[in-house]
Amino acid sequence: MTDAVQPQVIPSWRRLYDGKVIPVATVLIALLILWLAGAVYMNSPQLIDQYKRGNVEWTFGKLVRDSWSMERPILPAPQQIVVELDKTVLDKKITSKRSLVYHAWVTLSSTLLGFAFGTILGILLAVGIVHIQTLDRSLMPWIIASQTVPILAIAPMIIVVLGNIGLTGLVPKALISMYLCFFPITIGMVKGLRSPDVLQLDLMKTYSASAAQVFWKLRIPASIPFLFTSLKVAIAISLVGAIVAELPTGAIEGLGARLLAGSYYGQTIQIWSALTVASLLGMLLVWAVALSEKLVLSRMGGQAA
């Protein structure tokens, strides 16, 4: 015999549990503990070595404290990163070259420009592939091959060549970022523009609609969910591309330059805080795309992607 399972008001903690807040927090806390332990594990050999050479008396407590506050740790403790972020994000004027906000802004601008270029290129390629049989047959393998070329390797040459024809500053960086991020958009849009089924296309045919009408009234709306899925992937890649592109431009400014400078001087904490800002920026960008996706899709009837 089955007894009734009564529906009831869902308490708010339950909603947090079923939502993302508590799970993410739990995983984060678990990671934090792992991280702290890892910091002790990875940093202590060097410390013990130092103690020995300096003949310092040490206890486990001291070891733990010291491994969380080394100047050049192998793995910095999270609080060290927080302190560094506090110094470089909150304390500095955002126009200062020592402010991470300034560097994040530099990276963000080439990210966004590259993302815009990549989106345009990606969509144009997809439109070509879907509408022109010859492009469909000839282009795809080369688009895939293009992504197997290690961009970091040719980035310096691209920068030099572009510099030679008078393109410097933002544009070369954006072009490198574009090179990386157009790919998922092309793939997604080809899928999306081809997603209308035979029936939906036949319907248009019975209205004897023109190719342009089929494109704007059927293919484009049908591809929107695919477009956004790709855009979310692409914007993260575009950020990575912008950071990569900063290295061969002389690594003057931007998060990539910070990463490199930190790496050059063995400033682990600086690397990690630049990485943290980069990841947060990436998440923010993905989130922004997801938000616009929600808005657009809800206007389009809220169909799932």
């Binding site: 939906q200 319907l203 019975t206 209205y207 004897s208 009408q213 009234k217 709306p221 389009m300 009837g301």
Partner: protein, 264 residues
Amino acid sequence: MSEASSKAVIEIENLDLVFQTADTPVHALADIDLTVNAGDFVSFIGPSGCGKTTLMRVIADLEKPTGGHISVNGMTPEEARQKRAYGYVFQAPALYPWRTVEKNIRLPLEIMGLSGDEQKARAARNLAMVNLEGFEKKFPWQLSGGMQQRVSIARALSVEPDLLLMDEPFGALDEITRDHLNEQLLNLWDTTKKTVIFVTHSIPEAVFLSSKIVVMSPRPGKIIDIIESSLPRVRNLDIRETPEFLEISHRVREGLRSGHSYDD
């Protein structure tokens, strides 16, 4: 089999259609001869896979025959399609999920370039016809399967074509709703003098609606019987109990049975 061709809307002679597939070719239609006159209500009936949909698609120029002749309004099907000579109701609703009910109905009207006011008026009128007033702003997934199918009927009607092609439009509906829409359709046909071509699996439905019933059999798809209905043009549901009705039904069933093979 052909009749006074002055009023003929559709003339099909000796039509053949073979699908080339990866392995073996499929002979979907063979030796089809059929004339449909203005104001006819023609039903195609036959087992699954006998080519009803294919024949309808040939008329609509969605499929090219591999042999024989066909004319629609005296033109090739392609010209007729380009003149927007017909409205087509597909076997599935085929609504665009990103458009509201109203916007879906307005889609063909937009494409034809009608004015906004005219579009609105026609959408409202045809939604009423299928009993869906008040659902204008809903999206397709917010409707049940039957309601979606009714929207797609309204969409085809809004084009106001003289020729209406309907492929199992009522398949997804329960019996009561179906009866209701059958009456409405018959009424529409009678008042507007449209020509209707209709596919169904249901013998009573075919007999109730049609002025002419085309019975088909598969492999290859061909016509095995064409029955001119002796029922009056104006009918109501009660006619289904009359002996004439039962007699026609019987003839259709016999035709179906004779053309049936059990391997599908």
